[in-house]
C-alpha cells in the first residue's frame, strides 16, 4: 500500500481526519454568517488542497477568510449575477462573494453550457480568492470534459525587465479525464507560489537562488528581502535567457482572459481577501469531449500517452517520471487513510479561531 505524501510534514504535526477538518472549517464559516451550503463549498475546497498536499492553499488560509468576512471585504450574501450569456458563454459578476462560491457556480455554468452546446466559457469579475485552481478544472474532468480554470491574484511577481510587483502568480489549471486518475495540471505562472517562500521564512532557511529578487532587482536567497520590497520571478526566471518573458506572458494571458475580458481589473490592482473591492477575476472553460471524439477513445489515448511517458527512459538522477496530478492523488489517498497532517502552529491558530467563533477547538495540541 502506497503512502506517498507530497509536501510531507517536516515539523511537529498532528493528523486530523478529513471529515473532522471539513466540519470544523464549515462550522467556523457558518458561525460568522456564511450560509450553510456556501460554508461547505469553501471547506471542501480548502480541505481538498490539504488532501492533495497544497497546504499553502489549505486550511492555514482560514484566518484570512475569517478576517475578510469580518472586515466586510468578503460579501457572505452576494447577489451573483449572470450579466450576459449565450449558449456557450457567460459573464458573471461575483458581487464580492467568497471566491469558492462564485467559482463553483461559474464552473457549473460552464459545464452546463458545454453539456448543451459542446463548449462553455465563463469569465467572472468581482470575486475573491478562490483557492486551488484545480478544484474547478477537476469538476469538468469528472463530467468527461476537459476543464480549464484561471484566476488573477494580488501582485507579487516582477515583469521581465522590471522590479515592481506587478503580476499575480496567476495560476492555470487544466484537467482531463482518463480511465483512472485525471490528468491535472495546476501551476502558478511564477517559478514558485508565495506560499513556498512563506515556508522558507518560517524555517529561517535561504531560498534557492533564482526564485526571487530584492527591491533592487538582484536575485536573492534571503527570503526577508523578498518580503520587504522584493518580488517573485516569473516562470523562466530573471531576464529572457531562460524564458522569463514566457512566464511573464502566461501571467498576462491570465489577466487578459480573467479581468480584462470580464470588465474587472488586472493583477496590479487586485487586493487581499481582507480588502473591500479586492476585485479578483476568474476564467473557466469546459469542453465536452464526446462532441469531438468518443470519450472512451479519448481516455484510452490519455492512458497511452501517460503510460508511454512513465515508461520512457528515466533520468539517472531522478526517482521516476511523474504525470501531472499523480502526486496529488497519491497524497490524497494516503491522507484519506492516515488523516491530514496539520502543523502544530497551524493547529494553534485554528483552535484560536474555533474559540473566537464559539465552535470550539479542532483538536487538543497533544493530538
Amino acid at each position: 500500500m502506497t503512502s506517498y505524501e507530497k509536501g510531507s510534514p517536516d515539523g511537529d504535526y498532528v493528523r486530523v481526519p478529513k471529515e473532522r477538518l471539513f466540519s470544523f472549517v464549515a462550522s467556523v464559516l457558518e458561525s460568522i454568517g456564511v450560509p450553510g451550503e456556501d460554508a461547505k463549498i469553501v471547506a471542501d475546497n480548502l480541505v481538498m488542497a490539504d488532501l492533495r498536499g497544497v497546504e499553502s492553499h489549505g486550511v492555514q488560509r482560514l484566518r484570512r477568510y475569517v478576517d475578510g468576512i469580518r472586515s466586510g471585504g468578503v460579501n457572505v450574501h452576494p447577489r451573483i449575477r449572470v450579466l450576459r450569456e449565450g449558449p456557450s458563454y457567460a459573464l458573471v459578476d461575483g458581487d464580492e462573494g467568497l471566491g469558492q462560491v462564485v467559482g463553483r457556480l461559474a464552473m457549473e455554468l460552464a459545464i452546463e453550457k458545454a453539456e448543451k452546446s459542446g463548449i462553455g466559457v465563463v469569465t467572472v469579475r468581482n470575486s475573491n480568492h478562490y483557492g486551488i485552481a484545480g478544484y474547478y478544472s477537476l469538476m469538468a474532468a469528472e463530467r468527461d470534459m476537459i476543464g480549464i480554470s484561471m484566476t488573477n491574484s494580488r501582485p507579487l511577481v516582477a515583469p521581465t525587465g522590471g522590479v515592481e510587483r506587478f503580476l499575480g502568480t496567476n495560476p492555470i489549471s487544466v484537467a482531463a479525464p482518463t480511465h483512472g486518475r485525471p490528468f491535472l495540471l495546476d501551476m502558478a505562472t511564477s517559478i514558485v507560489p508565495i506560499g513556498k517562500l512563506e515556508v522558507y521564512r518560517r524555517k529561517g532557511k535561504p531560498i534557492p537562488e533564482g526564485w526571487a529578487i530584492n527591491g533592487e532587482g538582484d536575485v536573492t536567497t534571503d527570503v526577508r528581502e523578498v518580503f520587504s520590497g522584493g518580488a517573485l520571478l516569473p516562470l523562466g526566471g530573471l531576464g529572457e535567457l531562460f524564458g522569463g518573458h514566457k512566464g511573464y506572458g502566461l501571467s498576462l494571458m491570465v489577466d487578459v482572459l480573467t479581468g480584462v475580458l470580464s470588465g474587472g481589473t488586472w493583477s496590479r490592482h487586485v487586493g487581499n481577501t481582507e480588502e473591500r473591492n479586492s476585485e479578483v477575476d476568474h476564467f473557466f472553460m469546459a469542453i465536452k469531449i464526446e462532441n469531438f471524439t468518443p470519450v472512451e477513445e479519448f481516455k484510452s489515448r490519455m492512458e497511452a500517452m501517460m503510460s508511454e511517458l512513465k515508461t520512457s527512459k528515466k533520468h539517472p538522477r531522478f526517482e521516476r517520471i511523474w504525470v501531472h496530478g499523480e502526486k496529488g492523488f497519491l497524497t490524497m489517498e494516503t491522507r484519506l487513510r492516515l488523516g491530514i497532517p496539520i502543523y502544530v502552529g497551524v493547529l494553534r491558530e485554528l483552535n484560536r479561531i474555533g474559540m473566537e467563533t464559539g465552535v470550539g477547538k479542532l483538536m487538543e495540541e497533544g493530538g
Copy 2:
C-alpha cells in the same frame, strides 16, 4: 524613426523587399503543384515570420516544405473535412495538407463560429507544420476577438525526470486587440525552440548552460551533444526546482487539446514535414470580445495595463520593459521599410531551390 530589429542579423546578409520574397516563395510552391491560393497562404505565413524576426520559422524552412511536397509527405490537394461541428466548435481533418492551409481554414472557421455564437473552438488532426503559431491568433485579434493557437510538434524535449525526446516544443499563442498593436504572446513551451540551437551550431558557439541535456541527461553547453541524442529542456529547466514540470505540463496541455482531443496523436509520434503521416495536430480558439464587454472598453483596459507595465519601475540592468508582440511589430515596421535580411547561406539555398524549380534566383548573392 525607429529601426529596432529583433534577431538582428550578425552574419553576411542581403535585404530583400517583402513583396519580392513573398512572390518568390509563392512561385516556388506553385511550381511544384501547390494551388495558387494555397501557395500564397504559405508564403504569407513564412514571410510574416521573417518580418517579425522569427527567422527559424521563416523562408529558411522552404527546403523542408519543398522536400515534404516532393516526397509526398505533404498532400497539396487535400480534402480538408469538417468531421463534426456545432455552433461553437468543430473537428477538422487536414488530410495531410500544408499546415498553413489547414490552419488558416480552421482558424477562419473558429472566427466564423465566434462571430455567430460568441466562441469558436476548432481542433485539427492530420495536418503538417503550420509555421508561427501567432499567425493564427492574430487573425482573430484583427477581428476584435481574443485568438488562441496551439500545435503539437515532433519530439525534441525531455519530460521532467526523463531523458528521451518525448514532448514537442508545442507552442502556445494568444493574441488580443488594443487600440494600437495587438498583444501577442507566441512561445514554445521549451526554454528555447530548436531553431535557436541551430543558430549556435551554425556559429560553432556553446549554448547557455541549462537549455538542453545530452543523452545521459547532463546539462550541456555543447550543441552537438544535443543534436546527437540529447534533448531540449522544458520551460523551467531540469527537474522541478525552477518549475521544469510546469513547462512539461504546458507541453502536455497542448498535446491534450490538439492530438488527444482531435483523435490525432501526441508529440512523441509526430513526424517531420518530409514524412508521410507526420500527423501534426492543432487547436484554435476565438472569443468574440463584444459578447462579454464593449470592444472599445476592452481595448482601453488593454492599453492601460500595457502602459502601466511599460512605465512601471525598470530593472537597472535592463533597457526597458517590453510587452509581448511589441518587438515583433517594431521589427516588422523596420523590415517593411528596409527589406528583410536574408543570410547569404540561406539566400544560396533559396537560389538553388529557385533554379531547381525553374522559378529562377531570388537575388544574386552580391545583392
